[in-house]
Symmetry: C2
Subunit: 282 residues, 2 copies
């Protein structure tokens, strides 16, 4: 692990028993002993590391290894999900990335169980998959606005755990990240969008309406984190008021997950010397 990390985010940010979201300071930088500038050089170095690992994962996928990694990104509006996609995952090889952004479900999707559309987007072997929002919206916004009956919302936590355990059984490393910002930071980010004509398109009046439900969302997150942070698919809460910290933390989580797979380059499926000879003659 890079020296600037005192403790691995995989330990310090993991949601375990007794976890309380309200105790996490969104402006903190747990385990990292450096400032923004240090963070930027760590991000650059980490990109090289992450890409090298992703290339092995992809190469093994080509050769039939079923394993893959799925990063689930959640967080309040403006928490930096898109930026994380760009500055962490976007630095790797696009051929090996499967990015899926989940919007409000369509009429067709609503005719199915809430996991239906998600199950169809599970990354293929060898891929680094990213869900930008996910099936967790079905226990977050849907809970806050009571968009489904209470008993159905209740049922979903168990269904999610079962679904994700099934993914782990199939060789999918599931990494769930909540980007955790403060309401003040969100206000600053929304204000920026309204002050800059190049950012108007990122602004949605509904975002301000949703701000009115801040506490309800935090509560819904607390419940989801408690009930769905499992051994098979743990949650990590990443303080995200400082974008640079959130990015290096997610990058480090991904690097750690890939290192944990102990990926070696695939062995040749052909006779190397014979092929060298064939090639020379061709």
């Amino acid at each position: 692990m890079q020296k600037a990390w005192k403790t691995d985010p995989a330990d310090s940010l993991k949601v375990g028993p007794g976890f309380t979201l309200a105790d996490v300071d969104p402006a903190s930088t747990p385990g990292f002993k450096g400032d923004k500038q240090a963070g930027e050089s760590v991000l650059a170095a980490g990109a090289v590391e992450l890409t090298a690992l992703q290339q092995r994962l992809y190469a093994r996928g080509v050769e039939g290894d079923e394993r893959r990694v799925l990063l689930v990104l959640q967080g309040m509006d403006t928490s930096g999900k898109d930026g994380t996609v760009r500055h962490v995952v976007g630095m790797t090889h696009p051929e090996g990335v499967a990015l899926k952004s989940f919007k409000a479900p369509t009429a067709w999707e609503r005719r199915h169980d809430f996991l239906w559309r998600v199950a169809r987007q599970v990354p293929a072997p060898g891929m680094l998959g990213v869900f930008n929002r996910s099936h967790y919206e079905d226990v977050l916004i849907q809970r806050v606005h009571q968009m489904a009956p209470a008993a159905e919302i209740e049922r979903r936590y168990g269904a999610i755990n079962e679904f994700e355990a099934g993914l782990a059984d199939r060789g999918i490393t599931v990494l769930k990240v909540m980007l955790h910002i403060s309401p003040e930071e969100q206000k600053a980010r929304l204000t920026e969008r309204l002050d800059n004509p190049e950012k108007y398109w990122k602004y949605n009046p509904a975002d301000v309406t949703e701000r009115g439900f801040w506490n309800e969302y935090q509560q819904a997150y607390q419940i989801a984190l408690e009930r769905t942070s499992t051994e098979a698919a743990p949650w990590f809460v990443v303080p995200a008021d400082r974008k640079w910290f959130a990015r290096i933390a997610v990058q480090r989580l991904l690097v750690g997950a890939l290192q944990g797979l102990h990926l070696t380059w695939p062995l040749p499926s052909f006779d190397v010397a014979a092929e060298q000879k064939r090639l020379r003659k061709s």
Copy 2:
């Protein structure tokens, strides 16, 4: 346009009447007055330019603009398609990129017309789409190995032109690029794969077999280029023995295509002052 370009690749690399593939030197760097080092700084500067344009395209897509750009990448094995995806398109925002790599068609795909699987992958509004290989395989490898009756191959050129004209009608800018390498350069690149255990997975014995059909492939390309380089969807032949040149040329073609759309940031769909007030109070 950046100063290092004497002539725009959109002009110098375009396939027009009387084009002869055999006359293009794969090691040349038409229109560019600089070396590899100059090319690298042009690539870095161009990435910023391309990303800025792509962001506008994406923003307009969110607001309902139907336009999008589709880059079709073709070329012999090892011609640098993956590298171009990574070093040109991969430098932009992943949220706005729709990458599709076409492999040999599955049994299910083969039960449909050759354009069926391609039509389903046309990028959504606002996206920068990339086809890594494409429906052109159906008039390239399929022609070389007579995998379909001659009359069917013959029919496909017209079907492709009709299909692509339809894309253009829907606001899709289609840019077709052939990465053109020499057989000597391919041999060097394949040799590298066999000399490096980290690259074994990229090597396929079939690649050497296909090398035996080099002239047939060049002829199939010549015919495809002649018959399907249209006003609506022109072909560009990019000399690709020098990877750095191929990358800056494709980047410049994309930048030019996006500039041609004259994209402005979308106007706000809300009352900015009223929203600023709402936000302040929230």
